[in-house]
Symmetry: C2
Subunit: 235 residues, 2 copies
C-alpha cells in the first residue's frame, strides 16, 4: 500500500504534490487503499474516493498514533559546500530517525554556499520522502541560519556533545558517552573544523567533546555516524 | 600535505591519474612534500623531484607501515539499481573503514542494472579517493558477480550475519551480536529483500539473522549502518 504525506487529516484532499504523485506516477484508481502519515506521529488508512488530475479526495477508514521515541536527537551541523552531500545527509539521518536538524553558521562555514545548500523547501521534500520510505510517521524539524554563539548556551537540560577533528584520539566515542532516554544534542563542524575559540566556548558552556571513530570523516558522514551512534547507545 | 595513491613505492613516478591531479588540480611544484599510501597499509613521505605534465617523479624520505585493525569487515551486498546510491555506499563504508565489499546476485537482484552499478573500475576510484580523504592507508577489495548460493557455505571461521526486512522486530541488533576481534561477514539484501528460500538457506548454513534498527532502511543505508555497527561493537 502506498504512503502519502498529509499534514492535516481534516483536509480530505491530498496536497498538489502528493496528488500528482498519486495520479501521474503511481496511477492509482478510485477505491484503492492508501496510507497517510502527518509527520507528527499520526497514521491513517484511507480509500481514494475521487480522482481528478489535481484533486485527489480520500476518506479515512482508521487512524492511529505512533509513540515518540523515548529520546530526542538534535543535530547541529555546519553544512558542507556541496548541495548533494547535504541532501544525502538529511535523507540518511531521517531514514535512521532524527528529531531536529539545525544548520549553523560557524567561523569556518562557507558563507556563499550556506543558503543554497540549506534550502529548507528542498530539504523538507527530501525529509518527507525519506520518512515515507523508511515507514516512519514523524518528520524532523529543519532550521537554518542559527549562529554558533547563539546556541552554545541553549538546552542545558540535555546531553550536549561537540565532535571535532583536533585531538580526536583523546576523546571517548559518542556511543559510550550518550545517555539513554535523554535529549541529545550533537554539534558537527564544517570542512575546516571548528575554530579553537569555538571549541573552547562550547566546552566552557558544558558541551562535551567526543570521538566519532578512528578515521577522518567528511562533515555529512560525521553527522550520520553521530546520529546513528546515539540510536545505538539507546538500544 | 597532499596524499597520493601509489600502489608500488618502487615505481617512483605517480600514476597518470594521480600525476594529472598533482599538476593540473593541485598545481604542486618541484621540491614540495607529499604523502603516499599504497592501499596495503604502507605510507611514505616524499619530495617531488621532477614535474612534467604527465610525469611526476618523487623521492621517498621516510616510510612506515600501519597496523591492520584487529577485526575484518566483509560486506556482501545485493546492489541497488541506482548507480549513485551504490557509489555513495562504497564511499561511506570506506570512510568508516571496510575490508572487503562483495556484490552478490540474489533472486530479487535487478539483473539488467547489475554490471552498470557495480562497475569495478569506477568504484575502485571512489574507494581510493575515500581512503585518501579519510586518512587511511588500507584499500578494501571490491568484487562483483558472486552468486548467493556460492557464498553461504564460505567463511565458517568468521561471524556471519544476514540482515533482512521480514521479521525485523524479532531479531537482535547486529551491534549486540557482533563479536570483537573476529572476521565479520554481513549479507545485505536487495530492494525486494532476500527470498524466503535464500533466508532459510543462509540460516541453515549458520548465518545469524540480525536487526539493523527499528526503521525500514534502503539497501545502501542498511549496508552502511551494518558496517558502522561492527565498528562500534569493536570499540
Amino acid at each position: 500500500m502506498h504512503t502519502f504525506y498529509q499534514a492535516d487529516f481534516n483536509n480530505t484532499f491530498l496536497s498538489e504534490e502528493e496528488a500528482a504523485h498519486c495520479t501521474k506516477v503511481l496511477r492509482l484508481s478510485e477505491g484503492e487503499l492508501i496510507h497517510l502519515v502527518n509527520g507528527a506521529g499520526r497514521r491513517a488508512k484511507a480509500t481514494l474516493v475521487q480522482i481528478q488530475t489535481r484533486n485527489v479526495k480520500f476518506s479515512i477508514i482508521e487512524e492511529s498514533q505512533d509513540q515518540k521515541r523515548p529520546y530526542e536527537i538534535h543535530m547541529l551541523i555546519s553544512p558542507t559546500r556541496k548541495l548533494e552531500r547535504n541532501e544525502w545527509m538529511v535523507e540518511k539521518m531521517v531514514e535512521v530517525g532524527v528529531d531536529a536538524i539545525h544548520f549553523i553558521k560557524t567561523e569556518h562555514s562557507h558563507r556563499e554556499s550556506f543558503d543554497r545548500v540549506t534550502n529548507l523547501e528542498r530539504l523538507q521534500k527530501i525529509a518527507i520522502a525519506a520518512m515515507k520510505q523508511s515507514n516512519q510517521s514523524w518528520l524532523p524539524s529543519i532550521t537554518n541560519r542559527l549562529r554558533f554563539e547563539d546556541i552554545i548556551n541553549k538546552w542545558p537540560e540535555g546531553e550536549r556533545f561537540i565532535a571535532y577533528v583536533a585531538n580526536e584520539e583523546q576523546n571517548t566515542h559518542l556511543v559510550r558517552l550518550a545517555r539513554t532516554h535523554t535529549p541529545t544534542y550533537v554539534l558537527i563542524g564544517p570542512e575546516g573544523d571548528f575554530s579553537v575559540h569555538e571549541i573552547q566556548s562550547a566546552i566552557g558552556a558544558g558541551w562535551r567533546s567526543v570521538s566519532l571513530g578512528s578515521t577522518r570523516l567528511r562533515t555529512e558522514t560525521a553527522a550520520f555516524v553521530a546520529c546513528h551512534s546515539v540510536h545505538l547507545a539507546n538500544l
